[in-house]
């Protein structure tokens, strides 16, 4: 395994409550990502980070914020969870190959249910 862990793996929460998902890596990779995966939509990028305190928005960033205070940790926060944020969330890290291609290694996912 590439040394990427997500926590919690499963969470049930109520609408309006804050939720933080954590991604921890031991590979010292510069780039980290948060995706969500939903039936019919596939994997969609929420936010990504290209270094400590350097983050940017992805395709579906509304309602989410991220922070990266250390190379190894990337946090995804839902300030006020909504039912539309029920999803499986995947963290990924990337290594940029010599060929120029960017490949991702994914965590096992965090399943979030917002009631």
């Amino acid at each position: 395994d590439a040394g990427i862990t997500q926590s919690p793996r499963h969470k049930v929460t109520e609408t309006g409550t804050p939720v933080t998902l954590r991604c921890h890596q031991t590979e010292n990779h510069r780039y980290m990502y948060w995706y969500r995966q939903d039936p019919g939509h596939g994997l969609r990028l929420i936010h990504y980070s290209y270094g400590v305190k350097d983050t940017d928005k992805g395709e579906v960033s509304d309602g989410y914020s991220v922070s990266r205070s250390k190379t190894e940790d990337f946090l995804l926060t839902l300030e006020s969870a909504t039912s539309s944020q029920t999803s499986v969330y995947f963290c990924a890290i990337s290594a940029h190959l010599v060929s120029g291609a960017n490949v991702l290694t994914f965590g096992a996912g965090s399943r979030l249910t917002v009631l």
């Binding site: 596939g42 994997l43 969609r44 992805g58 990924a92 060929s99 120029g100 960017n102 991702l104 996912g109």
Partner: protein, 114 residues
């Protein structure tokens, strides 16, 4: 954002059959990856193709990158139940920092029946 179309969406076949799944875009790929995802797990990289016309083989899996770098295919020979899963193609968009943002197709869900 580059739009990736995968087909078919679903595929159910008998063990021992051959199959091909496709990934297409209206834009040129800088590079393309294929991932496989099993239930309850994250996607795992199968292969990366970079050069137009490139063919890569991984045991019973053959990956082809179109000459124009707008399409790719994955062919599985003599499918086995262990091949069951969601097959995703992904490509980087833009340049600079954008080249680190991978866009994924919606996937082909393959079921191989023993």
């Amino acid at each position: 954002t580059q739009l990736l179309e995968q087909s078919p969406q679903f595929l159910s076949i008998q063990e021992g059959e051959n199959l091909t799944v496709y990934c297409n875009s209206s834009s040129v790929f800088s590079s393309l990856q294929w991932y496989r995802q099993e239930p309850g797990e994250g996607p795992v990289l199968l292969v990366t193709v970079v050069t137009g016309g490139e063919v890569k083989k991984l045991k019973r899996l053959t990956f082809q990158f179109g000459d124009a770098r707008k399409d790719s295919s994955l062919h599985i020979t003599a499918a086995q139940p262990g091949d069951t899963g969601l097959y995703l193609c992904a490509s980087a968009g833009g340049s600079g920092a954008g080249s680190y943002q991978l866009t994924f197709g919606k996937g082909t869900k393959l079921s191989v029946i023993p």
